[in-house]
Subunit: 310 residues, 2 copies
């Protein structure tokens, strides 16, 4: 069994490689839900949807999120009714949020709803939200405490980052299956996702950090920072705001308590010494996922670093 801790676009692309190498029924994905937010009374789970859409082959590959060839007619009309329209939700995409919200209101858990969507989209792997309870990532800025989506999407990451808070995390419990999957895993892969808001929120769910620390399977992380910057997203701004070094070394420090192997890109080969000084063996490979073959090659390297061969 392989467990992957996942955020959004970077994780989904990494998973496109993993599913080429590992049978779907041997994969459990634990997904960040700290970015979840209600829009128009509908529950949106951006990272779960990115992972599901990507693995189901219906994602808008250019954006990395949303459904391919989607239209925006509902949002245009919602905007006419005076609603905010800074978070783009396509018409097909809205079906996911309508369906999810309906099931949640019927009393189903986010886990159950996610599993329903996963099945409907024809996927065999297991997709678990990090928690069934709401955990909302907020960014402390000079303009106040902003929900992560407001910080990132509405205000385009333009505010100075002073702190990051996972509101609700202390009261949240890991979703059913999360801790057991981590305990039973032959390898735990940390996708090249934002270490602060994507993986950090998963780590903030009580119990997850401790189980990772004690896990019998190897914990292997892929750095999302290559050559001093993330491929996508605001990881650099968040790390810098929190006083961290924006590099694979900084990422390693986020995970060093439980990390067994760090995987970094050839561009960062000069950082091997600094990472190994933290006590973490390091693998250098190509971590830039340009196409299907490079995604599979990265997955193979990471699994090999975890001591597994496929």
């Amino acid at each position: 069994m392989i467990v992957v801790l996942a955020g959004g676009v970077g994780a989904a692309r990494f998973l496109q490689g993993v599913v080429q190498v590992v049978p779907q029924q041997d994969i459990t994905i634990i997904v960040n839900t700290g970015d979840d937010r209600e829009f128009y009374g509908l529950h949106v789970s951006p990272d779960i949807d990115i992972v599901l859409y990507t693995l189901a082959g219906i994602v808008n590959e250019t954006q990395g999120w949303g459904i391919r060839d989607d239209t925006y007619h509902t949002m245009q009309q919602l905007s006419r009714y005076g609603n905010e329209d800074w978070f783009m939700l396509g018409d097909r995409d809205l079906a996911t949020h309508i369906h999810r919200s309906q099931l949640l209101r019927q009393g189903k858990s986010l886990s159950a709803v996610t599993d329903d969507l996963r099945t409907r989209l024809g996927l065999q792997l297991r997709v678990l939200p990090m928690s069934d309870q709401p955990v909302a990532t907020h960014i402390q800025t000079p303009a106040g405490l902003l929900h992560f989506q407001e910080y990132m999407v509405k205000r385009h990451c333009s505010d100075e980052v002073q702190d990051v808070r996972f509101v609700g995390a202390t009261e949240a419990r890991p979703a059913p299956g999360v801790l057991d999957a981590l305990k039973a895993a032959d390898a735990i892969l940390i996708a090249p996702s934002n270490p602060i808001v994507s993986i950090g929120s998963i780590l903030a769910v009580p119990g997850v950090h401790d189980v990772l620390h004690e896990a019998s399977g190897q914990v292997v992380a892929v750095s999302p920072i290559i050559g001093g910057a993330p491929i996508k997203g605001p990881a650099d701004k968040l790390m810098r705001g929190l006083g961290m070094e924006v590099s694979a070394v900084g990422v390693t420090r986020c995970y060093r308590d439980f990390l067994d192997v760090m995987v970094i890109d050839h561009q960062d080969a000069q950082l091997v010494g600094a990472i190994e000084d933290l006590g973490i063996p390091t693998v250098v490979t190509n971590t830039i996922m340009r196409d299907s073959a490079s995604k599979a090659a990265l997955a193979r390297s990471v699994l090999e670093a975890a001591g597994l061969t496929f």
Copy 2:
């Protein structure tokens, strides 16, 4: 002040004539909400929407409902998630239901939400739901008690009609302004809507029937049955099922307690005697609304029958 009791398509087309003759600020429309139903956890008010879309000039004129040039991408995806798809909701139309549901969940009344939509769509007249409490029209059939939308849209009016029930009506109250508008009206026009399920549900709201009986303004109805059949919808099946005569005479009997004048089509001129035998003066005119001019002409005839000139 003119008050119009309204169902869906027939009423909306009649109102397109009324607004050509009467200034919008002098019009109050009381709309049937017995057809309301939740789809995918969203509150759909078909008749309110037909009236609003039609008067705002955005209705799909061919269907009589929905928004012009709408797409169905959200529903297609909802169907992929295993949801029923017999009630067609377009993408732009869904915005109305999402917006309405959000405001209702925030604690706003259906009246307040309807007024919000009315304003957003640029209309100056007053649109009141018959009640802010749920009243659900059900049809008793050999297959059981069916919600009106199931009877009509899902099962295409194929079941034998044994009875009609307005579930919740006895506990419902008229929406704020409904009784006052009826009391203060210079004329109360009953649109050519289904007398059983569209107007009948409004009459089932406690207080409405009595106020109509005592109203100082003239009450004038337009028969939706012409030449023994409705222009649109299942009024004939419902009237027949309830043992009523499917004609302008049968419609008159539904309203005779409070009706001052009946307006019928030239095709039914031979029914004048039978209607006047019920004690109801009758006006014969062209009630078939083919175009903008014939709608305005009908409105003028009806208002004249109410003793008003514009």
